[in-house]
Symmetry: D2
């Protein structure tokens, strides 16, 4: 059983009619709906209940945390961002989505700006699979097509990924490293670019498949309770 | 002083009028012309004189080897491919160009198929810079534009690059990892995708800049004469 | 069910009394004995039946191939080494053991010399775990101790591992990257240093645990039948 | 001309007689003495003048920053740590030494704990060169010997290094990844383990050579003034 938690700042869906019409219950609930299964338990958290939802106890009982944020990264308290970072280092899986490239926990874990170049014109977007044998790409053909997406382009201010799984092509001429795997501490991280709030990206079956796969991939086999830097005695000779 | 050697199979330019009209003296001489400088000595070698041109002595006196091959990879003798591989492992720089992804030395050094998906329709192509701070990208703006190129697309059957510098965008919808850095043994390798024989790619100033930069980057500071797996004595205690 | 095949050149055990006394049925059978389980089927192959045992059909029906060779690397036919390499690129797992660092298939897959510095004095050896959260390290404490091993030391002529899992300490003063993970094509590779024929290393419970873990880790979810470099048509616009 | 700045917390040397006797003018001045040359200008900064010494203007005029800290990491203000991090991302080289593995800027840049296991018994230590062809290893033989060092051991809580250059062997049985290269943003980072305050490590000629080499390696060719995440217009079609 994988215990998934989805954080969504949940602002656009309340304030903007277009977004509300696409995700009436919030992006988190749309993602929760396709993730829930016999093997996956899902809980959600938004800015409204972030203190309880991302308490240490909650994180200790989360296998994989998904993160959607955009206009309100700064409203995530620093101590929660740090707590999420440390939970990943202790083994929790972490999947920042779309504008989550600029979320506090992702930036803390990468150590870099995670900046992109961007424009929003609803470009058609095609994500190419670089490694069809990777479990995150299972069930995906040569590429994923998304009718409309926000355009992100290089340079993407990240450390070289451990493995690059997807590269995006945008109809007006850009490319972007849109699916990136990392190990940090004992946790696995997968950044996945699709999911702008103004488009129904999370209803795309292939996007759903990738996120489902990523949850399985990121779920930990091993976790520690504390992050320590211990003094150790000399090893005794036999 | 950097001693560059350019290998070109030199077949298309002799047999096909279009190619001949673009590269009347062969691709190798066009590349040689823009590489030669006060700091760079260039020699060339083609299939016609490959035995002499890529002798061990010649390779020992080469700092960086560029490689253009396409239809005649199989005419490169295995022992020469092996010799080139070993020269790279001893420290020589190596820059396979375009269809050189399928050259014997590159495949030997990568250990993989180096396969691509491909089509040839003269697509407009844009190569995006992933790391503007890398010396190979010096002098290049956000991207390089090439009027017409052969289209290569993912999956590209290579080991994850040590650093990915360029990603290509093709007007009909593909992307490709088109500038890839590797260290193998003591040698540096840079694969660079542009350069189909039917288009005047090597006259493109940005393409020339990248190749000039790559030559400087790949030139060795350190080389060994032999590749050995030596027995060593116990280190004496003081 | 994981279908494991163990190749052992099987020469030392027939010619040298010491080795015979440790591994009377050959190293392959000792490894087979601890690997066999409800989930793992094991077959073995030696130089004596290498043509049949490593036929294409056999490899197509192997999930993970273990490889032990030392004095007779050159007796492995080139076409078999190439076949093994290609099977890995198509998805088969591959675990070269100890002096298998110099086996033909491993060298082909790495593209480098895989040279080491070495001496054989029966040093006490301790392998430190770099990432306790990796599935290959599951069940191992901070380190593995081996009473006597052959000493390998740096520089180890390999590409930078995708992930380094073990570093060896030898009592007379050396270190070595002794557990190295790679992805090549669609196959996973784990090089593991312990296992000199003169010492009973494969009876060490921790060594057995690592090899069992590595088999599970390297078993493929995805395989292809052919390695192709296909022409592809333009993607049709909608 | 490379402009080096050395930060040293400068506490042990003032409070502990042993340390004072080894580094009477502080570790920073000992390092400065061997780094200064016709090509290298050195300035130093300690906790006493950290606000002025690590001001934005000073960092903008620093090519490579070395960092020695141990007991007073917490006295480095967060905004200065952040400023150093951002300067590295903009291109400045960064060389954390020894217990600087736990310095705020290094931890920020790595995104991980950077924890180690450790003990202090003055062990003899030998650092093995993994890649003699790397410019940081230039002039070093197979290994570096240090009479007495603090012992750090695995697991070291860092992201997999871009390249691992040194592995340490300690006489009582440990190993450690003691020379690690990273690129983060546009800056190069080299972590180097030797340098405990109680031992005269920075008088060791080989240690000096490595640090001198690292300074040259980390000095930037390229820097940006700002870290931006810009909106970009559609690229105009020709």
């Amino acid at each position: 059983m994988i215990r998934v938690k989805i954080f969504n700042e949940f602002i656009h869906e309340k304030k903007e009619e277009t977004v509300k019409s696409i995700y009436p219950d919030g992006i988190h609930n749309t993602i929760a709906d396709f993730l829930r299964s016999d093997d996956v338990i899902v809980t959600t958290v938004t800015l409204d209940n972030i203190q309880e939802g991302l308490s240490q106890e909650e994180l200790d009982n989360t296998d994989v945390l998904l993160w959607w944020g955009h206009v309100a990264h700064n409203l995530v308290p620093d101590e929660i961002a740090e707590r999420v970072k440390n939970s990943v280092l202790k083994g929790m899986g972490f999947i920042p989505l779309h504008s989550g490239h600029h979320s506090k926990p992702f930036k803390l874990l990468m150590g870099t700006t995670c900046n992109v170049n961007w424009r929003e014109d609803g470009d058609f977007c095609r994500l190419w699979v670089c490694d069809p044998s990777h479990p995150i790409c299972s069930g995906i053909d040569r590429y994923i097509e998304i009718e409309h997406e926000e355009t992100y382009t290089e340079p993407f201010g990240i450390p070289e990924p451990d493995q690059l799984l997807f590269i995006s092509w945008y109809e007006e001429g850009e490319t972007f490293r849109s699916g990136c795997c990392y190990k940090r501490g004992y946790g696995k991280i997968f950044y996945f670019q699709p999911g702008h709030e103004s488009y129904p990206t999370y209803y795309n079956k292939d996007v759903q498949t990738v996120i489902k796969n990523a949850v399985k991939w990121a779920a930990p086999d091993y976790r520690v309770k504390e992050l320590i830097c211990p003094w150790v005695p000399k090893i005794e000779k036999k």
